[in-house]
């Protein structure tokens, strides 16, 4: 495809399958090494944890500066530098992207996972993920219709070189906060969970290394979970889908080897079995991802390449996570208390927020169309 032979390999079928498989294996091992179950990598959950660590929300069980997120952006930055693809750009409806990021996060937290985690949950035997993926596909299908009828957020333009470095700089700052874990006052940030999912993490150096590797290779192959589904439906292009299937299969096989597969619906780890809101949460997320041009992982990768509009989407997701927990919108997982199953799910506030989010996305889709 491209001039550089290595780039040609990455753009090939084999390259995509290999990279997807590597990501799946890494994710499964991250779980083995301490990350929460079926959450080797979850961009939404991990950004939510970062929001918590900074005190943007105070849900004490989900607060940690996840090195994987930092690694995604910095790994992408390194790849973009090496392959001369770093390009600062801005100006494609940043506020709209911020709002889409917020609602994408609210939708993802109604399901309890981003698309990456949806596939990883399925690879761990959590069958609720099938409902979530069905919702994701439905949301993307709606978004595809907008794309067909002229939806777009306008052109970006080249910007000052240094502006594209802001998001990587923020990530470097977060890494310093994680390493030195300063305490800003008695009740101040940084907050790090002592129990719950936020307290579960692989060793820093391993999480960071895995994040850097995934960021680097995902930048090269333009890995995107939402894009994989969108492209199949929109243009019958299976290129990205091969990578996602490889991710799922490799994670599943690695989970089998590591004894991390547990088929079931109720009381799956950090998941709930309320079908409707698993579905609708991911409808919202899928729609928001299509309208903003990438899944949350892809948005991080783009942020590392100098795309400041994608960076605004990421910041929107982090803000959305803060809203989701401060306003009680995020779903509660199923729990087994004294041997009795307590089904989790979304509160009335959360349901309302998901509906508002879907409506907001539909308004954006209908009203932001133009002939180019």
């Amino acid at each position: 495809m491209s001039v550089n032979p290595l780039s040609r390999f990455f753009a090939s079928k084999k390259g995509m399958i290999l990279i997807g498989a590597v990501i799946g294996v890494l994710a499964a091992f991250l779980q083995k090494l301490g990350n929460p179950p079926n959450m080797g990598v979850c961009v939404a959950c991990f950004e939510r944890d970062i929001a918590g660590a900074l005190g943007l929300h105070r849900a004490s069980v989900v607060q940690y500066i996840r090195p994987e997120i930092i690694g995604f952006v910095l790994g992408s930055l390194v790849a973009a530098f090496i392959f001369k693809e770093f390009k600062s750009r801005t100006g494609s409806a940043p506020l709209v992207r911020f709002i889409l990021g917020m609602f994408a996060m609210i939708g993802a937290l109604a399901f309890l996972g981003c698309p990456w985690r949806a596939f990883l949950r399925l690879a761990g035997g959590d069958l609720n993920a099938i409902i979530g993926i069905a919702g994701l596909v439905s949301g993307i299908a709606v978004g595809d219709q907008f794309l067909k009828y002229g939806y777009n957020l306008g052109r970006s333009r080249n910007s000052y070189y240094s502006s594209g470095l802001i998001m990587p700089a923020i990530m470097a700052g977060l890494l310093l906060l994680l390493i030195f874990a300063p305490k800003f006052g008695v009740n101040g940030a940084i907050f790090l969970s002592e129990k719950g999912p936020g307290s579960m993490h692989a060793p820093l150096i391993i999480s960071l290394s895995a994040g850097l590797i995934i960021g680097f290779i995902a930048q090269r192959v333009r890995f995107c979970t939402m894009g994989s589904i969108r492209d199949v439906m929109l243009v019958r292009d299976f290129h990205l889908m091969r990578g996602v299937i490889a991710l799922f299969l490799s994670a599943f096989l690695t989970n089998l080897m590591l004894g991390q597969v547990n088929f079931g619906i109720a009381a799956q780890p950090i998941a709930h079995s309320d079908y409707l809101w698993n579905f609708l949460g991911m409808v919202l997320a899928g729609l928001a991802f299509v309208l903003s041009g990438g899944c949350p992982g892809r948005q991080l990768i783009l942020s590392g390449e100098g795309d400041t509009d994608a960076a605004v989407f990421v910041l929107g997701m982090i803000a959305g996570a803060a809203f989701a927990h401060n306003f009680g919108l995020a779903a509660k997982p199923d729990a087994v208390i004294d041997g009795v199953l307590k089904v989790g799910g979304v509160s009335g506030y959360g349901m309302t927020a998901v509906i508002i989010g879907i409506l907001a996305c539909l308004i954006i889709g209908f009203t932001m169309r133009e002939k180019i």
């Binding site: 495809m1 491209s2 001039v3 780039s7 753009a11 392959f83 693809e85 390009k87 750009r89 494609s92 794309l147 067909k148 777009n152 957020l153 052109r155 970006s156 333009r157 333009r222 995107c224 894009g227 969108r230 492209d231 929109l234 243009v235 019958r236 292009d237 290129h239 041009g293 990438g294 509009d309 180019i372």
Partner: protein
Amino acid sequence: MKIDACGLSCPQPVVLTLNAIKENKRNVEVFVDTNIACENVQRLAESKGYDTKIDIAEGKFKIVLTKQK
């Protein structure tokens, strides 16, 4: 037919190219400004039976599509 897809994010360059192909336009030239858009347009064109030729100048890519015989 010339398509200026510079500055447009994924998948707009592909959608615009697809529309041109559907209208059976001859001598389609697509202008994009990122590697990813270039790769995507090229992959689409080849899957639809077009040969592609790429010129790179000043950070922009010109992809010329010609129908395979």
